[in-house]
């Protein structure tokens, strides 16, 4: 069973490059068929040609609730259903990226509306309540069968969070971690990383939400939890003050993990968002947003694979 999963994952990774290019051609054809044959010059031109918005004239963006830092910031939750942060503040990494992309697509900030989408539903098959979802969703070939993904807006590594002074904090390699109890949020690439790469001797734990996993670590029910690195910074800074980032993990199978925006399968908007991301990368906006909201300056040791 596990072997099958690993086999699927690796073959998927090998195919990832061609998979992405075929996705792009697949989304180009409806746009080209709908208008003239000349390709759009800018993301804004591209977005004008799209007719499949969830509500017309508005860009509907999905994310999970609570909206955690450093992805979302600025609170402003009073009078809304949002917890911790309201994604409409434009503050926090993902909110800032979302508004920057919206701007490139030709939407003003008040033409953006946010909807609440549970993490595991954001990339499940079926109709979508959002034009795109931005919620620390890692690209995987399996998920790409159910939804379309944009290009990377952030390259990410998983990291291990534990309590200060516990034995697991001495670990420096993947094999050092084998005898500890590890857990993560259910349905995440972080959980897959524990099962497929670390392969601990105690069965990996899966919590229904990130909050549950954090609570379990706080209570000492697990030795360590695996989350993405920026989330690890937030957890150790705010949620568990006596928590520590033990280290970050090398990419599984040498394939860099990255966050991508998720779209309903076949949504032609993917191409426009990719153009917008390209523009944001070349004019330096994406980098400055990242510098502002994600603490990339701090160096975290990388676990050795031996």
């Amino acid at each position: 069973m596990r072997k099958v999963l690993v086999a699927v994952a690796t073959s998927g990774l090998l195919l990832a490059a061609c998979g992405k290019s075929s996705t792009t051609t697949g989304t180009t054809s409806p746009a080209a068929g709908g208008s003239t044959s000349a390709p759009p010059a800018t993301a804004a031109d591209c977005a004008k040609g799209v007719t499949s918005y969830v509500s017309s004239g508005v860009l509907t963006i999905g994310t999970d609730n609570p909206a955690y830092p450093p992805w979302y910031a600025g609170d402003n939750t009073a009078g809304t259903n949002w917890k911790i942060n309201n994604p409409a503040t434009g503050k926090g990494f993902e909110s800032a990226v979302a508004y920057a992309v919206a701007g490139k697509l030709g939407f003003s900030p008040d033409q953006v509306q946010w909807v609440e989408v549970p993490f595991n539903q954001s990339f499940a098959p079926g109709p979508k309540s959002f034009d795109f979802d931005i919620n620390q969703i890692s690209y995987t070939p399996k998920r790409a069968e159910a939804v379309d993904f944009s290009e990377s807006y952030y390259d990410v590594n998983p990291a291990l969070v534990a309590l200060k002074g516990t034995p697991i904090t001495q670990a420096t390699s993947l094999s050092d971690l084998k005898n500890f109890s590890l857990a993560s949020q259910i349905g995440t690439t972080d959980y897959d990383y524990i099962v497929n790469v670390i392969q601990p001797n105690t069965e990996a734990g899966a919590y229904n939400s990130l909050a549950d996993a954090v609570q379990a670590l706080k209570s000492g029910n697990v030795d360590g939890i695996v989350v993405d690195l920026p989330t690890a910074f937030y957890i150790t800074a705010v949620q568990i003050p006596n928590g520590v980032i033990v280290g970050q993990f090398p990419p599984a199978g040498g394939q860099q993990e990255y966050f991508a925006m998720a779209f309903a399968k076949g949504n032609p908007l993917v191409q426009c968002v990719n153009m917008a991301l390209e523009e944001l990368k070349s004019d330096g906006t994406l980098q400055s947003i990242q510098d502002r909201w994600l603490s990339s300056k701090v160096s975290v040791p990388v676990f050795s694979t031996s």
């Binding site: 259910i186 959980y191 069965e203 734990g205 706080k218 029910n221 697990v222």
Partner: protein
Amino acid sequence: MSVPGGGGAPELFELPPGEPDLPRGRSGLLSGLSQEGAKGVLVAVVSTVVVFFVLGWVVVHSQNWPEVKHAFFNGAEFRDTFPGIASRFLRNVEYFLIAEVFILAWALTLAVMRSLPGPVFFPLRLMSILYTDLFRGIPTVLVVYLLGFGVPAMQLPGVPRSPAVWAVVALILSYSAYVAEVYRAGIESVHPSQIASARSLGLTRMQSLRFVVIPQAVRRVIPPLLNDFVGLQKDTALVAFVVAIPEAFKQAQLEQYADFNFTPYLGAAIMFLIVTIPMTRLVDWLIQRERARRQAGGAL
């Protein structure tokens, strides 16, 4: 009487034993067959085959069947995921067995507390009533969350920190309230003449409760107790909400999130059914036997 199929006053009409032509039980699956003999059996078989064949044909030939089959009845997915789900079902059985022992004892204590005679025991009766009101009124999943996350979070010295322990405690607290009511119904179904006879023989109130009332009561409520066992067996899946180490339901969830296919849930459902269906049939059979026994024995 409030006990389903269990105790209660003797039946109003009594049937002579050993009459094969008379309907024995009204709830049995095969109850209609014995009346008509071999011909009846044949008709039943033919009509069953026809009905199921037609239903099956309609389902398989409906327009969306291929999608439904792919999402819910996916053979390859089932073969991949079922062994992992089946082996983790042992955890559900473990939770069930541990909880059941404590439930039977604690619920009987509660029921006896509520049945204690005399004004001096009023506080105990009141506590028992409050307890059952409280825990029958709260969703079990809420109690599981409350204890499973809440108690370990307090990090009290000397108190177990395992969410699994507290999730099972939550099941015990919740189910004991229901089972206590089943016991109480059994206790109240024992005819007052039994207590009067016991008292006239010189037994104290407590002695007549212990030696006369409770043995009869427990025997009568065995079928409804088993009903609660069936419910408890299913509700061990609630443990998955607070315990990270997967049992059958969470394992199915993990597989579903990995592959976006719902067949693993079917696998988990099959494991639960393998346990609960025989239990349900056993309940039916016990109810039948109890009825036959009381009919054969006539009045009390």
